[in-house]
Amino acid sequence: MDFEPSEDELALAEGMRRLLAGRFGLERLRRAEGETTVVDPTAWSELAEAGVFALRVPEAEGGLGLPLATTAMVFEELGRALVPGPLLPSHLAAGLVAGAAEGVVVVGSARPRPGAGQPWQPGGSNAVAPVVVEHLAVLGALVVVEEDRLGLLDPAELDGALPVARPLDPLTPLWCVDALPGGETVGGPAEAARWRREERVLGGALLVGLAAAATDLAVAYAQDREQFGRPIGSFQAVKHLCADMVVRAEVARAAVHAAAVTVDQPDVGDAERAAAGAALLAGEAAVANGRSCIQVHGGMGFTWEIPAHLYLMRARVLVAGLEGAGRLAEVVAQRF
C-alpha cells in the first residue's frame, strides 16, 4: 500500500500546471469574462494535445491509458487554473462520442429536470426550473445524462435555447431550455452509473483544485497585506481561517484520490460510496474556501477586480452540476 502519488504522477501534474499557467494565465482568461464563447478552439486543441480528453483512452486506441487516479491529479490542475469549458463531459465522452478524445468535438452534458410531481430534493432543482446547459455555443455534441440511460443529442436540436444574460460564473456561459430531448441512446444503466461515478471523482478533483487555489490566493494576501503595522496573516483570527482552508482542501484531496483509486482498484473498497463522499466534501471545500478567500481579502474580496469570486462561482457551477449535496450524502448514508 502506497497512497502517495508516484514520481510520474507528480511530474505529469507539475507539467500540466506549467502548461496551464502559460496558456491559461488568469489575466488572459479574464478577458473572456461574460462572452458566450469563452472556450477558445485553439486552446481546446492544446488541451487535447496535452491529452486531457484522452488520458484514459487505451494506448492502442491512441490515448494515454492512464488510471483515474492520475487523471484526477490532472483535473485538480485544471480546476486550480480555472480552465473554462465542459472539461468533464468532454473527457467522459471519450470513446462514446467520436472526436471527443481528440478535442475535435467539444462535448457538453445536461440532465433532464426531475419530472413534475417528483419530490423536491435539497440542493437539486425543482420541477419548475428550466434545464441549464453550459457552453452551448461551442458544443459539437451534448450527452443527456439520465438516471439509467445516456443519450446523445445534436446541440442544434436545442434551437429554442435562451442565452442567460448574467451567468453567476462569468467564465461559464449558460443557456436555458424548457425541455430536453432524450437523444439517441448511447448507454444503458451501467454506462449512466459509470458516468455519474467518474463525474463525481473528476468533478471532485476540479473542486479540490479550486479549493487549493483559493487557499493560495488568500494566504498570499494575508502575507502581504498589513494592518496595525504587521501582516494580517500574523493575527490568529486570519491564520485560523487560512488553516481551515488547508484542512478542507487536504481532507477533500485525500477523499478524491481514494475514490479514484477505488474506481481503478475495485477490490479495495466501495467505489460508489467513495465517489459520492469525495464529491460531497470537495464541493463543500471549494465553496467554503471561496467564501473564506473573499473574507480574508476584506473589502477588496468583494470587488470584481480580485479573482476570489471566480473560484467561488466556479465551485457553485460544479456543485450544481453534481446533483446536489443531499443526493450525495444519501448515497453514503445507504452504503457505509
Binding site: E4, F235, A258, L280, A325
Partner: protein, 428 residues
C-alpha cells in the same frame, strides 16, 4: 497511488488476525475504569501478551528492542486491533508512544537498556509531566525548577493533566534548568521515579465524573543526573521528538473506532425511526463521508511517513479534523437518543427497542472513560459486548468528545501549527 496491500503486508495481517482471534476471546472482563489497580493489571497483562507474541513495540526501531515495522504494518496493526475489539494501549500509552521513543532516540545506552525492555514487556508504566497550571499550550513557559546538587537534581514545582500517575512507575518530566526566562533554551528532560520522596498526586475530577488525570506536586524531589535524557537545557528539542510521535499514527485507532460508533448510531436511528427523517440520514451520510476521507488521509500520512521516514506535518491536519468531527458525531448521538441522553446509567429498555425509561437503571454501569465508550460501542455487530449501543455510550461519547479538541494540542494550537509551519504565515 496504490491502496492494495502487498503480499508481505497481507501475510502480516493474516498472522495478526489469527493471533487476535485466538487471544481476544480468552481475555477476562475489563475492570471498571475507576479501578486503577485493576486497569494497570489488565493493560500491562495485554502488553505482555503482545510482547510474547512478538507484537510489542511494533513501531519501535530494532535497536530499541522493537520490530522496526513499516508505517504500513503499523497501520494494519491498529486496524486489526480495532476490528478484533482488542484492548487499548491504556496505561502503557506514555511508555510506548512518548517516553520509550524518546529514550530510543535521545537516551544513553545505559538508559535504553534499563528503561526500554520493561516498557515492552508491560512491567513498568509511565506518566507524563509536561503541562503545568501556568504552562499549557505555552509549554515553553514551564517553571518547575531543577537545581543541580552534586549527582542529583532537586526538583520543585507542579505538573498537571498527569494521566495514569496513580499507577505509574516513572514520569517523563520537563523541568527548568536554565534561567527563569530562558524558555525553550532552558528546559531539561528527566526520568522521575514515581516512588521518590516528595511527590504528591491529587486526582482531578473530570466533567465525566472520572479521575483520568490529576495534579503532581513536587517538593524537593531528588532525581539522579544520570536520569537526564539529552543534554542539560536541550530538553525542548528532546521533547519535540516525542510530540512528533504523538501526531503520527496515534489517532488512527480513534478514526476507525469512530466509524464503528457512527454505524452504531445509524442502527440506533433505525431502531428509533429517526432514519425515516431524510435530514438525519443525510447527516449520517455526511459524517460517514468525512470519516472515509480521514481514513484516506491517514493512509496518505502513513504512506508519506513510509517514504520520508518521519511522521509528517499532515498529522496536525488529521488530528484537528478528526477531533472536531468526533464532536459532531457525538452531538448527533445525543439528538438520536433524545431524553435518554440525559442519563449516564444505561437504560436497558433503551438499548433493546429504542424506547427509554422502560427499565431500571443499572447501578454503577456508567461510561466513565474513553475506553469504556470504545468497549460498549463494540458489539453492534455481535462480536463482543452487549448488543446495540445504549444511552450510556451516547452520553459518554458526547462528554468525552470535548476533551479531544483540547488534549494533545488544542484545535486552536493545531491551526496555528498549520498556518505557521505549512502555510508559512508569520508568528503573531
Amino acid at each position: 497511488m496504490d491502496l492494495r496491500y502487498t503480499e508481505a503486508e497481507e501475510a502480516f495481517r493474516a498472522g495478526l488476525r489469527r493471533w487476535l482471534a485466538e487471544v481476544v476471546p480468552t481475555l477476562g472482563p475489563k475492570p471498571s475504569s475507576l479501578d486503577w489497580a485493576g486497569r494497570r493489571r489488565y493493560d500491562t497483562a495485554w502488553q505482555r501478551r503482545l510482547y510474547d507474541a512478538g507484537y510489542a513495540g511494533l513501531d519501535w526501531p530494532v535497536e530499541g528492542g522493537g520490530r522496526g515495522a513499516s508505517p504500513v504494518e503499523q497501520l494494519i496493526f491498529l486496524e486489526e486491533l480495532e476490528l478484533a475489539h482488542a484492548p487499548y494501549v491504556g496505561v502503557n500509552f506514555v511508555g510506548l508512544l512518548h517516553a520509550g521513543p524518546t529514550v530510543i532516540v535521545e537516551g544513553t545506552p545505559e538508559q535504553r537498556a534499563r528503561f526500554l525492555p520493561p516498557i515492552l514487556r508491560g512491567e513498568e508504566v509511565w506518566c507524563q509531566g509536561f503541562s503545568e497550571p501556568g504552562a499549557g499550550s505555552d509549554l515553553a513557559s514551564l517553571r518547575t525548577r531543577a537545581v543541580r546538587d552534586g549527582d542529583e537534581y532537586v526538583v520543585t514545582g507542579q505538573k498537571i493533566w498527569t494521566s495514569h500517575a496513580e499507577v505509574a512507575d516513572f514520569c517523563e518530566l520537563l523541568v527548568r534548568t536554565g534561567p527563569e526566562d530562558s524558555r525553550h533554551r532552558g528546559i531539561s528532560w528527566l526520568i522521575l521515579p514515581m516512588d521518590s520522596p516528595g511527590i504528591e498526586f491529587r486526582p482531578l475530577r473530570t466533567i465525566a465524573g472520572s479521575t483520568e488525570f490529576g495534579e503532581l506536586f513536587l517538593d524537593g524531589v531528588r532525581v539522579p543526573v544520570a536520569n537526564r535524557v539529552g543534554d542539560e537545557n536541550d530538553g525542548w528539542r528532546v521533547t519535540m521528538t516525542t510530540l512528533s510521535f504523538e501526531r503520527g499514527t496515534a489517532f488512527v485507532g480513534e478514526a476507525l473506532q469512530s466509524m464503528e460508533l457512527l454505524r452504531a448510531y445509524r442502527d440506533l436511528a433505525r431502531r428509533t425511526g429517526a432514519w425515516e427523517d431524510g435530514e438525519i440520514r443525510r447527516r449520517l451520510g455526511h459524517l460517514g463521508a468525512e470519516l472515509d476521507a480521514l481514513w484516506a488521509l491517514a493512509r496518505r500520512n502513513v504512506s508519506q511517513a513510509a517514504r520520508t521516514g518521519v511522521p509528517g506535518i499532515g498529522g496536525s491536519v488529521f488530528k484537528l479534523a478528526l477531533s472536531e468531527l468526533r464532536q459532531r458525531i457525538a452531538q448527533l448521538g445525543t439528538e438520536l437518543a433524545g431524553p435518554a441522553s440525559l442519563v449516564w446509567d444505561d437504560l436497558p429498555g433503551f438499548r433493546t427497542d429504542g424506547t427509554y425509561g422502560a427499565g431500571t437503571p443499572v447501578p454503577g454501569d456508567v461510561v466513565a472513560s474513553d475506553d469504556d465508550v470504545a468497549e460498549r460501542t463494540a458489539g453492534g455487530d455481535g462480536v463482543v459486548g452487549e448488543g446495540p449501543v445504549g444511552n450510556g455510550v451516547v452520553v459518554g461519547t458526547w462528554v468525552h468528545s470535548f476533551s479531544r479538541t483540547i488534549a494533545a494540542g488544542t484545535s486552536q494550537i493545531q491551526r496555528n501549527i498549520i498556518a505557521e509551519r505549512i502555510l508559512g504565515l508569520p508568528k503573531g
